[in-house]
Symmetry: C2
Subunit: 809 residues, 2 copies
């Protein structure tokens, strides 16, 4: 997309210089605005043409039956799907009674700009109607980071040449017809007109609609108010029906005398609150927004983003494309999570309906991995959402005959919605992924209250799951059988190494945390016997190696499977799951996405450097990279093992997933995890940042002053760096937040410079050397030359960048 | 059911002495009549009350979409379901304008008898209407084995006490309302009124309806003609509408002067033939039946069954229940297959709609195993049906990226209908099961023409599947990964031993058969290189043993899985798949049904006696027996390993599956494979009959005079016996057909007597000793005492007979 001729490369903005309807749907995702609570796709103000109209609210969904031709015990019966709520974006324009529609007349100019520092989407255009009237339109739009319920639009229209009579229709529209109803007729029936009207209202410049979903019983209210500035003869009229509420403004405009409309929109929804309560909630929010005013909202937005960029910016000298892409990525990651608060962060954020708006392990393993070190205040509320869903996870575990919590593979509310258990229920690793996010957040922030509260409970209930899920063999080795790791081309396997190592981390962390918070642990029924059993299981967990090949096995026996015949697979047959049956994928050596490689990222202390190098070289040629989650992990391990050029190519791929529409589905929404992966590739890859787990020696029962605990006054946060740049870059600089400190890291070809911008002191590890950094004394260290291993090669046709025009690493 | 007080134990009949509506649905299955082409459930003549009205035609089905909440490559999109076709059984009666309905009035007597030697279902009753009129009714019903398209009913009504005016309505009824529509609304929509009327006709005593299915486009015609005998004032009138064609006979009857109606019904269906062609077909068939007459049909039926019993009867002295049950079983197995000809034999035969009327491996592995030695003329046409579906199997294999043929796990037409691939597509063993049936039939009959024709092609295309499905490891061992064996609680496993041994047999047999028929093999593109590759793969196929435990592994690593916690499983939690998720079943040591044990039955030469004993003892306590296919195989191996009492208990269970309604679903149709299993348990279990595969030495390329080939003049058919009786039996006698000979085997506690009733000579093996039997010289041999191994035990609550009242072995 960024390679599309309409787009230009700029460091702080995404700029579209003309409109190409062929890529309209993708552009709606790229230009989506969100604060994590409200999501507005980048639809045109006038509503049409569109790829997919979309307004979403975090957690707002409809339910529908999940069909099975052959049902089984424990299959979820009910699915959940994000709903396109009442559209508050729409401002239609009539020019002398002709509707402004880009598909007709002549478009002399059309530009859109998304500015990552102002958080505003701007649009300017000049259009001549079929009848020959020319107007200039300028609109700006924001979804407020500060006022969670509020979005706003400034719309300005002005004639060119001579006077023109215009009518602006600023609307709230419910139940917009969508271009692609669901395949399943029952699902389509539920989602066709999902909102049942409860109340509509229009008076003066104020509009309001309240609806309720038919099956999930959620109530949504939307209110709008307007400022109108125009010539003296400007006429306003408001009207309302069940599914549309409308302010009509008519005026005769002259060149130099525009009509300006500011629209304040507020959303609210609830499963419990009454119609009057929702009504008052949105009216209150819209009144507050109007009182802040358009300029006030702009200022709040700029200030909020200013703080964010101060702590989060990544400077990439040497590649303007990736420089732009990583800021685009961080902006959208922030948008997905900023005010999500106690709601799920969907895989697509609130930018589209892909994956039905479901949340997966992407949230904890990718998105929170970035935010923990760039916007940590967003993390606890999102983990708080997981904690809120603990009752459902406990119930699910009980249904499955397991102890503790079994969090859902995909969900909006916390109930499992995965209809294919080998890649859903069996992907138990999500529980350890959640635990790791807890652990990471607690270690990076020292948020003791969180750890003692929700954190400990999440760690304990997931540890219980692992302890009950595994079993001991005759030799006492602890096995976890029948699970699916990140690689979805190898389901229901024995001792998936990623799962086992993450379970080990989970078990150890739960035991350590219980020791730090003995009273709270007792409340949760955790005693020394249980923590002892967890530690014991952790220490005896199975780790399979193929001694002949000298590599770890992704799962027991994996390296003895037949190798996928990549040579006979044509480039058009990727992604493989669309062209080959699961049974064939599962029984062969072919990896959809980083799995063992991802384990080497998340559990670095479990592997020696040599093992990492050998493992990476073995798995690289059998990894199809059929998931957008894969490239960033491969980038990190490629960088660590010295394949710097390859790491750079993978970084490109992660960075351009949506900007270049690499998987041809950006129209359905952005790949938020891959966007997060851009930061991961740069900071964990070329910055070599790792958060190390305390070793088993730190697990002893008398270790009450655990260095990794929340009581960690020295403040290492367990962070180490091993920076190394690819040839393409002359400099990489980034900031990470840890334990209240702000650490700035600047890497050039031969030197790394560490400075503490906020905080008194911090222990830092550079390529294995530990030193203490203090406030006013930046430290420079040389960057050792990397090893130069041989390129292991990729499956034919799966070179990184092979589908990325212009990648020149 | 047989333990229900309404049923009595008789050697040659199933007798019901009174009517209990609580078991009406089950009785409809037990009393079902079929010739394999037409199936009539044992519904009451008057149509109501009913459990499930049912008239089925072999192969006649409707199609419907298969829903998936998450679809995958290669998932079948279209399902097939047996359709209740036009009901030709119905004869309603009005007694003085009150409908005869057993639920009203008073039923003084009601008896039904299914006679296994006459093939006739008889019913006699005496009923007093609510208004006080008493009538006696006697009806008889048959579905002709000789006239494939024909069924017939004789109906007689006579007043008791005084004169009564009656009206008989003999009908053809299409689209009968069914009590249980499908769960899925789309399937229900398709099946609610599956037949679209094309033509209806009624004249004199003749009725006819022609319909067509809405989606599969199959046309079905039904015609009826009647003989009416009654008093002089008897009036007849025929009328017809789209979905009902009716002959009404009214008469005033006096005691001693009955009204008698004989109804001849003929069915025909086709996907291709025109309306006039179908019309003429059924009219011709009904005219032929009328010309044969009721007595003629009775005589034909008796004669056909006489021949069958001469070759198939099993005498069980010492247990009257099992004596009755095995004849009931053989009768229904014959009914399911007799005239199936080039159509599938469904798991339920044509006795109900269970499993949607689909055919599974049951056909080849269970049903044909019996018929090959008792009614071999039925076998080639059924294997011919499989051969007819070869194009679909080749196409399916290609879709899955495989060579050769991949036959469907469940189907009516030959297209895969399994919507859950781990227990469908992955159950590749069905291909070897088909090959084994080919092999068994050719060896037992010497039908050289069949082997050279359809047989060779089936062997070749299945061998190709195995060769392509497996792969060599670095040591040259041939592995088949990612497949599901008979045990559906262990899916997608590596080197399932049953599958591997059966694939080996398949590969070897294909190579041998290609050698015997070189010209035909060349036509199929088979050369020495390919047969060499098959033999080589066969010789190097993986066989996994757990050396510590000293047993074979059901699949690689199976014995290292966690053992299912049987002690914590309550009896109500069986069958386990209704109470536990697949993921948990798959990763633990729990066996749904005989798998390795079944391998020891089908591939006896692959195990030593000691291995069989150890394997049986290991797998017995972890076998849940949650499939009706399991007990008979366990019976056979229990008998072989000396657990004779246990073998007898399992024989009971197989025998009483439907008669005692052990799985509580006999209402959906009979378990034809378990019925076949009764014979398997007796003849292979206590008779110890085995068909041995030629050893690898017989595979050498110069072995052109292969003793097992169709040119086998000595006529062993590879048959051996190792008879041994349980304490419960004083004598077991059975007949097996082999190579045109009729061998009679009679076993008592200490002696086995072999006599050749038809044929000149036959080689027989008795407990390892080979001898030649000649026409007029029966041979007696002593029965060696069995080993007396310790009882390995079963899962708690899963003792055989625990749900079989009255089992006293």
């Amino acid at each position: 997309m960024i390679t599309h001729h309409c787009y230009t490369t700029e460091p702080w903005r995404l700029c579209e210089s003309e409109l190409d309807l062929d890529v309209l749907a993708q552009s709606e995702s790229l230009f989506a605005l969100s604060n994590g609570h409200i999501g507005w796709r980048g639809n045109l103000d006038e509503g049409e043409p569109h790829g997919l109209p979309g307004c979403y609210l975090g957690g707002f969904h409809e339910v529908h039956p999940l069909p099975y031709a052959e049902a089984g015990y424990g299959y979820p019966e009910s699915g959940q799907t994000v709903v396109n709520v009442t559209d508050g974006k729409i401002i239609r324009l009539l020019v002398e009674d002709e509707p402004f529609d880009l598909r007709y007349g002549h478009l002399a100019r059309h530009e859109r700009v998304l500015d990552f520092r102002t958080g505003v989407l701007s649009r300017t255009l000049e259009w001549t109607s079929p009848a020959g009237c020319t107007v200039r339109i300028a609109s700006r739009r924001l979804v407020s980071f500060v006022q969670r319920a509020v979005a706003a639009i400034e719309y300005r229209v002005e004639p060119v040449g001579g006077p023109v009579t215009v009518a602006l229709q600023s609307e709230l529209v419910a139940n917009e017809p969508l271009p692609s109803p669901a395949d399943d007729p029952r699902v389509a029936a539920v989602l066709d007109t999902p909102l049942c009207p409860e109340e509509d209202f229009a008076r003066d410049t104020r509009l309001r609609l309240v609806h309720r979903t038919g099956h999930s019983g959620l109530r949504v209210g939307v209110a709008a108010d307007h400022l109108v500035e125009g010539p003296e003869d400007t006429v306003r009229a408001a009207e309302s029906e069940a599914d549309v509420s409308r302010l009509v403004v008519t005026a005769t405009l002259r060149p130099g005398s525009p009509l300006r409309l500011v629209k304040f929109v507020a959303y609210g929804w609830s499963a419990q609150r009454s119609l009057p309560a929702i009504r008052d909630q949105v009216e209150g929010a819209v009144a507050a927004a109007r009182s802040t005013g358009w300029d006030g909202l702009l200022a709040q937005q700029r200030e909020h983003l200013g703080h964010f960029w101060q702590c989060a910016d990544v400077e990439v000298d040497g590649d303007a494309t990736v420089q732009q892409a990583v800021r685009f990525a961080l902006f959208h990651v922030l948008q997905a999570a900023a005010r999500a608060e106690r709601r799920a962060v969907p895989a697509k954020g609130l930018t589209g309906t892909g994956y039905d708006g479901h949340c997966f392990w992407d949230t904890e393993s990718y998105v929170l991995r970035v935010l923990t070190h760039t916007a940590p205040q967003t993390v606890a509320p999102i983990l708080g959402w997981r904690h809120d869903t603990l009752p459902a996870a406990l119930e699910r575990a009980a249904q499955l005959g397991l102890s503790g919590a079994a969090f859902p593979w995909r969900t909006i509310t916390g109930a499992e919605c995965s209809a294919y258990w080998p890649a859903g229920t069996a992907a138990f690793h999500i529980n350890a992924d959640i635990a790791e996010a807890v652990l990471r957040y607690a270690a990076a922030t020292g948020d003791d209250g969180f750890e003692r509260g929700q954190g400990l409970e999440l760690l304990v209930q997931t540890a219980r799951l692992w302890h009950g899920l595994g079993h001991r063999d005759a030799d006492g080795v602890f096995h976890i059988d029948g699970v699916t790791g990140p690689d979805e081309y190898s389901a229901v396997a024995r001792d998936n190494l990623y799962t086992n190592l993450m379970a080990r981390k989970n078990l150890r962390a739960a035991a350590r945390a219980a020791l730090r918070h003995p009273e709270r642990a007792r409340e949760l029924g955790v005693g020394p016997e249980e923590t002892g059993a967890w530690r014991d299981a952790a220490e005896r967990i199975a780790v399979h190696r193929d001694e002949t090949l000298g590599v770890h096995e992704q799962s027991a026996g994996f390296t003895r499977f037949e190798r996928w015949d990549f040579e006979a697979t044509s480039p058009e047959q990727y992604p493989l799951m669309l062209h080959f049956p699961y049974f064939d994928l599962y029984r062969k050596q072919v990896v959809k996405q980083a799995d063992l490689v991802w384990a080497m990222l998340t559990c670095p202390e479990a592997f020696t450097a040599e093992e990492k190098a050998r493992n990476f070289a073995y798995y690289e040629p059998i990894t199809a990279r059929d998931s957008s989650l894969s490239a960033c992990g491969q980038a990190v391990l490629a960088a660590e093992t010295g394949h710097l050029r390859l790491a750079w190519d993978y970084t490109w791929e992660a960075a351009l997933m949506d900007l270049a529409n690499l998987e041809h589905n950006t129209r359905d929404g952005l790949h938020i995890a891959s966007l997060a992966g851009t930061w991961i590739a740069l900071v964990l890859g070329f910055g070599g940042m790792r958060q190390y787990e305390p070793g088993p020696s730190d697990d002893s029962a008398d270790d009450t002053s655990d260095a990794e605990g929340a009581s960690d006054a020295a403040g290492t946060g367990g962070l180490g760096f091993a920076p190394r740049l690819p040839d393409a870059l002359s400099r990489l600089a980034f900031t990470v937040l840890v334990r209240g400190r702000t650490l700035h890291v600047e890497v050039t070809e031969d030197t790394a410079r560490y400075s503490l911008r906020v905080g008194e002191q911090l222990e830092v590890v550079h390529h294995g050397e530990k030193f203490t950094l203090t406030a006013d004394e930046p430290v420079e260290r040389p960057v050792p030359p990397p090893p130069r291993p041989a390129d292991p090669g990729r499956p034919p046709g799966r070179e990184p960048g092979s589908s990325v025009p212009g990648s020149d690493g």
